[in-house]
Amino acid sequence: MNFNNNKVSAPQLGSIILLTVVGTGILTLPRALAENVGSDGWLLILLGTLLSAAVVLIHSHIVKSFPNKGYMEIISTCLSKPVAYIVVALLVVYFIILNGFLVRLFAEVVKLFLLLRTPIEIIIFSLLLLGAYLARQGIETLGRLAELLIPIVLVPSLILFLLSLEGGDLGNLYPILKTPIPNILKEMPTILFSFLGFDVLLIFGLYVNKPQKIAKSATRAILFIGALYLVLNLSVIVKFGVPQTTHLIWPTISLFKTIDFPGLFIENVEGVVMGIWVLIVFMSIAPILLVKVILLQDLFSVKDNKCFALPLLPPLYFVALWGASLAESYAYLDKFVTYTAPIVTLGIPGLILIVMTFKKKNKKEGEPNA
């Protein structure tokens, strides 16, 4: 029996990854794809899924190779201690900024669809408070919550997708494969950003009770996300067609708003949609909050990490309110992500991987404890 509070199972980690990633990408992905590659978005999603799965495999390999070591320890063994301090500190800043923007976008949607006159500060504040509560409860609670929410979120979503197909036009998927390949490659970053968030794997990997299973669960989560994005993208295109999709800021919500359900108690399913949506986005904000808490714990080498959850809220709050408008927030986020995300998801792990193989070689050549 496990009476401690710091172990999650591999499928729970997979669930965390799934929800973390989906929350960021699900809102705007169909529009971004429609704008850039028209009706060929599905191809891009397939490519993006495969690529992300590959990156996830790298990440899980790193985590697996350093059992019982936190991310900071991994970095310090591979890249020396001062570097580790700097990198982890920067990571915390990175996650605060990323998270803050996400909170802002979320709050804007809530404000627009649910609470038109409520000050956005209240919306943000209440959400962050709840996130801090979860962060204080620790990784095990997060893991269990994620696994619990997966069916709660996915089953109604899939039903909604099915319902939204009514009245759609399959012809909207034509023409197939007419986008020139350079265009597709140019849009690879867009799709990769909608997979952003799986890097929590690097930090949470330490807490998995069976590390050898991480790779399987994480890849499965990524493939699942890919499938979900695919369904989402196809539904939106089938329903709206490319020209209309490019005009919608939040095509996913608009898609669900067209569902007609005469006679049911909830005539328009908007309530259900917003409800699920709050769950999804919360679950992509909360894990990153916990990531920061864990990183800070490593940074200050403190045993109890509960004290970090609340002090993190003010910076997050200010980042969230940084952009004057939604457009500005989006622009900031885009710029920020374009420059930093590749470093965080690929750069650092890549460096670790290189050092790892290098050291392994050294070992093979007979240098003990290199």
């Binding site: 609470l115 006159r117 409520t118 209440s126 067209t258």
Partner: protein, 386 residues
């Protein structure tokens, strides 16, 4: 922890920014939007004149008409009253605010079911696009709202007090709804219209005509490049719906040997095929119809189950359907020169290479496209007698 608890609690207890009780709202079911010609615009009062220097010139050229049921207590018993109110302003939202001064409940567009645009609005592309964008942007307004164009002014149409239903907004909505909705006007909720207009800026929008105590939904306004170019009649609307696969059940009357026979279509399907010869584009439209003979003749001389007779009747049906469809296509091609038939979409999807050549000049090419309509009608049932 205690502190956050206190903050949260106080937040819960003081917060109610968005709270408006349901009985304090006025649920607008139908909205009429009219263009006010400059001569009819209300005279500016002094207050406005003074402000104009600061605000710049704004002509209040919109007249919004709101139709909503108003709940009130009459002698202790709650009752509902049908309210129709109009207001004039520079844009839709200013009007909504202005109405606050005249309605004790808060106007609420979340249950808006139909929007009626005055003829003049669609004749000014500028206004039409303003209105459309307002409707598309609003998070409260559903994309399932029906849109119709009124012959004349929208206010007149909304002011009609229908006998069958006391709430006029509800009545207009009911005209659009239901299984057996009319096939004499195209289907057009905002969702479809937006998609169509975003696609090629053309659309067919149902026509709403008001008489003294009645309203009639039939025919359609054809929009080309966000501008009204003309009406099509009820039969033409039917042809349009057949072409766009939007109708299933309707009746056409054929005449054989002096007998008027109604043929009830139960299933109808249209398929486009493109036949290209050099620069000449030919659209082949194949229509397959299935249906019943619902009436023939009492004690007929001929057996309705006789295959030869059925064959003859089927040919009559085909001729009739072909006539309706061909007439519609011609009207749209030659008179209105507007592609609401979806030819362009079809080419875009199934022949993108051709579209690359003709897409730019499609407005000119469309009227010259040769169209051939082939109808295949089947009689499946003849009722209880033979």
């Amino acid at each position: 922890m205690m502190l956050t608890l206190i903050i949260t609690l106080s937040m819960f207890l003081t917060a109610c920014w968005d709270k408006t009780e349901i009985n304090d709202r006025a649920f607008v079911l139908a909205l009429g939007i009219d263009h006010i010609p400059p001569s009819e615009q209300p005279k500016e009062d002094r207050e406005h004149k003074a402000l104009e220097k600061v605000l710049g010139e704004h002509a209040p050229h919109y007249r919004m008409t709101y139709a909503f049921p108003k709940q009130m207590l009459a002698g202790g018993e709650p009752t509902v009253e049908n309210i129709i109110m109009s207001s004039v302003g520079e844009n839709i939202y200013i009007n909504e605010r202005q109405m606050k001064a005249r309605v004790d409940n808060q106007l609420f567009l979340g249950h808006l079911k139909s929007v009626v645009l005055g003829e003049e609005v669609v004749k000014t592309p500028q206004m039409f696009r303003e209105v459309l964008d307002a409707l598309e942007k609003d998070p409260l307004i559903s994309r399932k709202v029906n849109l119709a164009i009124a012959v004349g002014e929208a206010k007149e149409v909304l002011n009609v007090e229908p006998k069958q239903e006391s709430i006029s907004g509800q009545f207009i909505t009911d005209l659009f709804m239901g299984e057996d909705r009319t096939n004499r006007a195209p289907v057009a909720d905002l969702d479809q219209l937006f998609i169509s207009l975003h696609d090629n800026s053309n659309a067919a929008i149902p026509r709403l005509t008001g008489a003294e105590e009645e309203l009639k939904l039939g025919g359609a306004a054809i929009i080309k490049n966000y501008e009204f170019v003309g009406w099509i009649g009820e039969l033409e609307s039917m042809g349009l719906m057949i072409l766009k696969n939007e109708t299933d059940i309707f009746v056409v009357t054929i005449n054989a040997d002096g007998i008027n026979i109604p043929y009830q279509v139960t299933e109808i399907k249209t398929v486009y095929t493109i036949q290209q010869k050099d620069k000449e584009i030919k659209m082949l439209i194949e229509i397959e119809a299935e249906g019943d003979i619902v009436q023939y003749f009492f004690d007929p001389e001929e057996d309705v189950l006789d295959p030869a007779l059925l064959e003859k009747l089927e040919q009559e049906v085909e001729k009739k359907l072909q006539g309706i469809v061909m007439h519609t296509v011609e009207k749209l091609q030659k008179d209105l020169e507007t592609d609401v038939l979806g030819f362009d979409t079809y080419i875009k999807r199934h022949n993108p290479d051709l579209w690359a050549q003709v897409g730019k000049d499609w407005v000119e090419i469309f009227p010259t496209v040769e169209v051939e309509v082939v109808v295949d009608a089947k009689i499946r049932r003849v009722g209880l007698t033979k």
